[in-house]
Assembly symmetry: C2
Homo-oligomer: 187 residues x 2
């Protein structure tokens, strides 16, 4: 699997375009010299400005400690070209293996956070922990996206949406209904 083509900066308030449809994402993290990756489907957009995203990161994951301590992560968007890697990441533990090396993924340096970006992913959203109020009770982290990078093509990448039980929905056709929206509801 190759890295994507060139990426452009995306205004952080526009990450909803990629996350709101509900794809699985790969969360990468770093603490000192240790990195890890986890697969995650439980997330929601929470605000545009600041650009907030809520992530459920189970405390059973090795990534939980790396992220809670470093207070940073990168949300990486895999396409169907990375289906095998996304499943393998989700079915292994970073305690036992180096997932970047094991699955042939490229750790790229971010601009704003120490957590690595995954070069093969269509988009990389650098995040800083914004509010940990619900971490202890629910493992729910509220992150601010502080820098966003997206591949220039394709415009509508094929993403994976998990339904449980080993079954995924793959994103389908894209339809515009702009003409049915009030102008103040667009953007």
């Amino acid at each position: 699997m190759a890295r994507t083509g060139p990426k452009r900066d995306l205004p952080v308030g526009e990450v909803r375009r990629y996350l709101e449809p509900g794809p699985i994402v790969l969360i990468s993290s770093r603490l000192h010299d240790k990195t890890n990756i986890m697969t995650l489907g439980w997330h929601t957009i929470m605000a545009f400005s600041p650009s907030l995203v809520g992530l459920m990161i189970s405390s059973g994951n090795h990534s939980f400690d790396l992220i809670r301590t470093s207070r940073e992560c990168v949300i990486n968007l895999p396409t169907t070209a990375l289906t095998d890697e996304a499943i393998a990441v989700g079915n292994t533990s970073g305690i036992e293996i180096d997932k970047f090396a094991e699955f042939g993924l490229t750790a790229e340096e971010g601009e704003e956070v120490g957590a690595p970006m995954i070069g093969e992913c269509h988009a990389n959203f650098e995040c800083r922990l914004y509010d940990d109020a619900l971490v202890n009770r629910y493992n729910f982290f509220i992150f601010e996206v502080v820098k966003a990078h997206v591949a220039e093509s394709p415009k509508h990448p094929k993403t994976l949406h998990y339904t449980g039980d080993g079954v995924f929905m793959v994103s389908g056709r894209v339809i515009s209904r702009r003409s049915q929206f009030r102008p103040d509801m667009l953007g």
Copy 2:
């Protein structure tokens, strides 16, 4: 638009099958003799048992007060057959109109909560407010699904996934990768 065929009870711990892929949903509510519906794309599964779902309900919505006061709602899953209705619901205010009447939607009685279920939707998840800790700060409501109803067919309904700017992604093909999962990661 007709009501769905017969619905069956779904174990509440299995609503992730419908919500985790990230579709837009219609949130129905009731306070005294007043009902309302809103369209919502900002949600996440938070736990299986109890069955918890987090919803971002902007305080600018008429539904916000109905839901905060009644502490109940129904999460209804529209398919592409309800595209026009879902958009219309999202672009109008319940202060001015009765959305059930205006858009030809059928209010059905739930079993556990007072909020009405939308008969034309593929699935209806009756919810009670479980934790309002982040309502004031973020408009983030944590609900428990207390009863779940789903249409018996189709098995994989075509759902709508919002990307912003009047553009939707429609759910595509379904692929099973069960054989690549560890047994304890399934279910």
